[in-house]
């Protein structure tokens, strides 16, 4: 799932509202129905606040969710 967040430059301008730090890619585990995937998500280097971008949630992530649900 990692090649998903290719166009990442735009998140570099996003900042954590509480710390003021610019977001950086951070290796994170995501899980669903017992499966675990490692993925890089934009996160605050100071407090760890992160988010799941829209294109990921409604694209590849949704696909994987569906596949896992039918397993």
């Amino acid at each position: 799932m990692n090649e998903l967040i290719k166009s990442f430059e735009k998140y570099g301008e996003y900042r954590c509202a509480s710390c003021g730090c610019a977001l950086e890619l951070k290796k994170t585990d995501i899980t669903y129905l017992g499966s675990v995937f490692a993925i890089e998500l934009p996160a605050c280097p100071s407090c760890g606040m992160l988010f799941v971008p829209e294109e990921l949630a409604t694209g590849k992530m949704l696909e994987v969710e569906k596949i896992l649900e039918d397993k």
Partner: protein, 758 residues
């Protein structure tokens, strides 16, 4: 699901039964497949079908007397299909190219007496079973075949006999030393074709001929084929050699042979509305290519598919219930691997129409509901399928959206008005008006009960939740003194009838029929097509009450072609709309396309789903309790968000104004107000993200400060209230409102985030 259950379901669907022609053919030639190929001009394919079934195809296909005609469904519509003539054209149009199948020799020997069709068929089948076959025939050496019909030529006969010799069949002349008893001693089994006069000279062959096994007085000797019909002669040869085989295996000569000869098929084919067309006359020389194509085109390609024709869902998956039953059974048996039928199981509207249409009563509803229940209990139900509806059910039973009260000023209830979640959510206005009207016409003691009936849990296959809700339901009902429940929604009535039979429930429509409706000025006199909700299909008294009420309006109502007990679902039933929104939209569209007129409905959900497709649809209540401004057909559909907020607002309003409970009511926590354009509203509706959820996400971001700032001054905040994580892009505005730009959600969990707490 047990295998036994699968078989019970499968047996009800006759779609895989053979067409009449094939069942009636003594050799079961697939006339339907032959016609299908021939109608497209594919006669080579036709020959393949013939040679697969008919022995001596070069002869039989030209002279078959066609007993299949008696069973052909075309008979009633102009005349039976001339299958015989079609076979003949196939044979004339090109050569049979039979594949040479090498059969391992079994070491068994079989003797065949006679040179007619029956004997030669038996010989061919014997060779096919791996026996060493010897045919004893008269001096004419096959010429007797030639005399069967003037259409046969020497070459045709020669070709067939040569083919047999190539297969290793040995032909020996018949002499005086040949007797059935003698052959029985020298060979493992014997067949005698009684279409050959030589064979008929042995009285022991003519005696005690058992019609099933064709066994004669001499053990191990079988005989048959004493009939004028060529195809029946061949069938006897085939039957005789089968008996020989069973005899050699020591198996029963008579058991399970019912379908060897002609039998009546169970296949149902609807021939209503088919235009009669006479057969293309058969010239003495046989059909031309064009004539053959035309005659084949008269074949009805008999099949059932009755239920599929009228169900968008059944059409969607490209099959028919028998096939689906196997797929669902396999789906439930998957231990590791992909469950291919999950989507199908959850897409049926559970309307039950198929069961009412099917000649065998196949119920896709029972099948899918059983499968859902099994998936839920095995924890194999995809969470995304019904979560939204189940969560809505929980909301409907929360204090915010539910209400149970005696009528103001009364301390007991003779009746309880039960509007249901949908009417209350889609039209709180009529909900209040109807309640006022009922209090008037019933003269007091009319309580009010808003909550979910449990239909979502029932449709989702969640028996546990349903039972829990049912218990709570009964407790509440008894606490009110077990009054008569007046249900506005037929889906609620269905749940009461099937799951809570104790509840004394009547339909709002029956009450209105009996007690009267308000006098209102006619709103319009344009005709409208009356649509019955699928849950009214099993409630004839409700449908009758509705028709009576409609006749009191000035709206000339039309009946749709499929109505009453054959009505269709709007797409909401069975949670189709939840599990497969795209299919639900198709279901609604299909139904709306059945009449160009406006629709008149009496279920709030039907109204909404039809209105969403752009169809002008009126709710019957809107005719008796009209909106203050404008035409009820112009009312917009109500989003899921608004339905929820409407229910909560209805509860607040009723408590405040009717029950004067203002002081007891908690402060409105959801006061945060949102601004978004139509496009965003639509996007959120399609992603099933409710306005209430958006508020909670924003509140979480604002209160905790945990949010992401974008360079354009907007923020992203997230929240995971239960199983799903939501993200919202918003901007606080100076006036204290929040502008929403987008929102999305996912079910995958990000490890190590504590998103839960607001």
């Amino acid at each position: 699901m047990e295998k036994k259950t699968l078989v019970e379901f499968e047996n009800r669907c006759v779609q895989e039964e053979p067409p009449g022609c094939r069942a009636a053919c003594p050799l079961h030639l697939d006339g339907r497949a032959l016609c299908e190929a021939a109608a497209k001009g594919r006669f080579d394919e036709g020959r393949k079908i013939i040679q697969k079934t008919l022995p001596l195809p070069g002869i039989l296909s030209r002279i078959c007397d066609g007993p299949c005609r008696e069973a052909c469904l075309r008979q009633e519509k102009g005349g039976a299909v001339e299958l015989g003539a079609l076979e003949r054209f196939c044979a004339d149009e090109g050569p049979f190219r039979r594949p040479r199948i090498l059969v391992p020799k079994t070491g068994r020997t079989a003797a065949v007496l006679g040179g007619g069709i029956s004997s030669l068929t038996a010989a061919l089948d014997g060779a096919g079973k791996g026996y060493s076959v010897t045919v004893f025939r008269g001096e004419t050496g096959g010429r007797e075949l030639l005399s069967l019909s003037p259409v046969l030529t020497e070459e045709m006969v020669e070709e067939e006999l040569e083919w047999m010799e190539n297969l290793g069949v040995l032909f020996l002349p018949w002499d005086a030393s040949v007797t059935p008893e003698g052959l029985a001693g020298r060979f493992d089994a014997v067949y005698a074709g009684l279409d050959d006069p030589l064979c008929r000279s042995f009285p022991e062959l003519m005696e005690r001929e058992d019609p099933v096994s064709l066994e004669t007085a001499v053990p191990g000797v079988f005989a048959g084929g004493n009939t004028p019909s060529f195809i029946f002669r061949a069938a006897a040869g085939r039957r005789g050699m089968k008996s020989a085989e069973r005899f050699l295996q020591g198996a029963s000569l008579t058991s399970s042979r019912e379908k060897e000869g002609p039998y009546a098929t169970r296949l149902f084919t609807n021939i209503e509305g088919i235009e009669p067309a006479p057969p293309v006359p058969v010239p003495p020389k046989g059909y031309t290519r064009d004539e053959a194509v035309r005659e084949a085109g008269r074949c009805l390609l008999c099949e059932c598919m009755e239920c599929v024709k009228s169900c968008v869902f059944l059409q969607k998956y490209g099959g028919y219930p028998k096939k689906y039953a196997r797929e669902i059974y396999n789906n439930l048996s998957v231990i590791q691997g992909t469950r291919l039928a999950n989507g199908m199981i959850n897409s049926c509207t559970l309307c039950g129409r198929c069961e009412r249409i099917c000649p065998g009563g196949f119920s896709m509803r029972d099948l899918c509901l059983t499968a859902r229940q099994e998936m839920v209990s095995q924890q194999k139900m995809p969470p995304s399928a019904h979560d939204f509806a189940l969560e809505d059910m929980a909301f409907g039973n929360s204090p915010e959206a539910s209400l149970l009260r005696h009528e103001p000023g009364h301390s007991r209830s003779a009746f309880l008005f039960f509007p249901g979640c949908r009417l209350a959510g889609i039209s709180p206005r009529t909900t209040e008006s109807v309640y006022g009207h009922l209090r008037k016409v019933l003269g007091g003691e009319v309580g009010f009960w808003l909550r979910c009936c449990g239909a979502p849990a029932r449709w989702a296959g969640c028996r546990k939740e349903l039972e829990k809700a049912g218990k709570e339901f009964l407790d509440q009902w008894r606490s009110m003194g077990s009054p008569v429940v007046i249900a506005a929604c037929t889906s609620c009535l269905e749940v009461f009838r099937k799951e809570l039979p104790e509840i004394r429930a009547v339909s709002l429509w029956s009450v209105l029929q009996e007690k009267g409706v308000p006098e209102t000025a006619p709103i319009r006199s344009v005709p409208a097509a009356l649509h019955d909700p699928c849950t009214a299909a099993e409630l004839p008294e409700v449908r009758a009450a509705v028709r009576d009420l409609v006749s009191r309006t000035k709206v000339p109502a039309e009946e749709l072609p499929l109505t009453g007990e054959l009505t269709s679902c709007c797409g909401f039933g069975g949670l189709q709309e939840c599990a497969n929104p795209a299919l639900a939209a198709e279901t609604a569209k299909e139904r709306c396309g059945e009449s160009p007129s406006d629709f008149l409905v009496y279920c709030a959900m039907c109204r909404d789903l039809f209105a969403r497709t752009g169809k002008r649809t009126m709710h019957l209540l809107d005719l008796f309790f009209p909106p203050s401004d404008g035409d009820p057909g112009d009312l917009p559909p109500v989003s899921w968000s608004d339905q929820r907020e409407n229910r909560a607002a209805l509860v607040r309003d009723l408590r405040k104004y009717l029950w004067k409970e203002e002081e007891k009511m908690e402060a409105d926590r959801d006061a945060l107000s949102l601004v978004m354009d139509k496009g965003t509203e639509k996007l959120l509706e399609s992603r099933r993200i409710l306005a209430g959820t958006v508020r909670r996400v924003i509140r979480n971001g604002e209160v905790s400060g945990r949010k992401i700032a974008r360079p354009d001054g907007t923020f992203i905040a997230g929240l995971k209230p239960a199983a799903v994580t939501y993200w919202v892009v918003y901007r606080p505005r100076e006036d204290g409102t929040f502008e929403v730009f987008s929102a999305w959600s996912h079910r995958m969990e990000v490890k190590g985030r504590e998103e839960g707490a607001p």
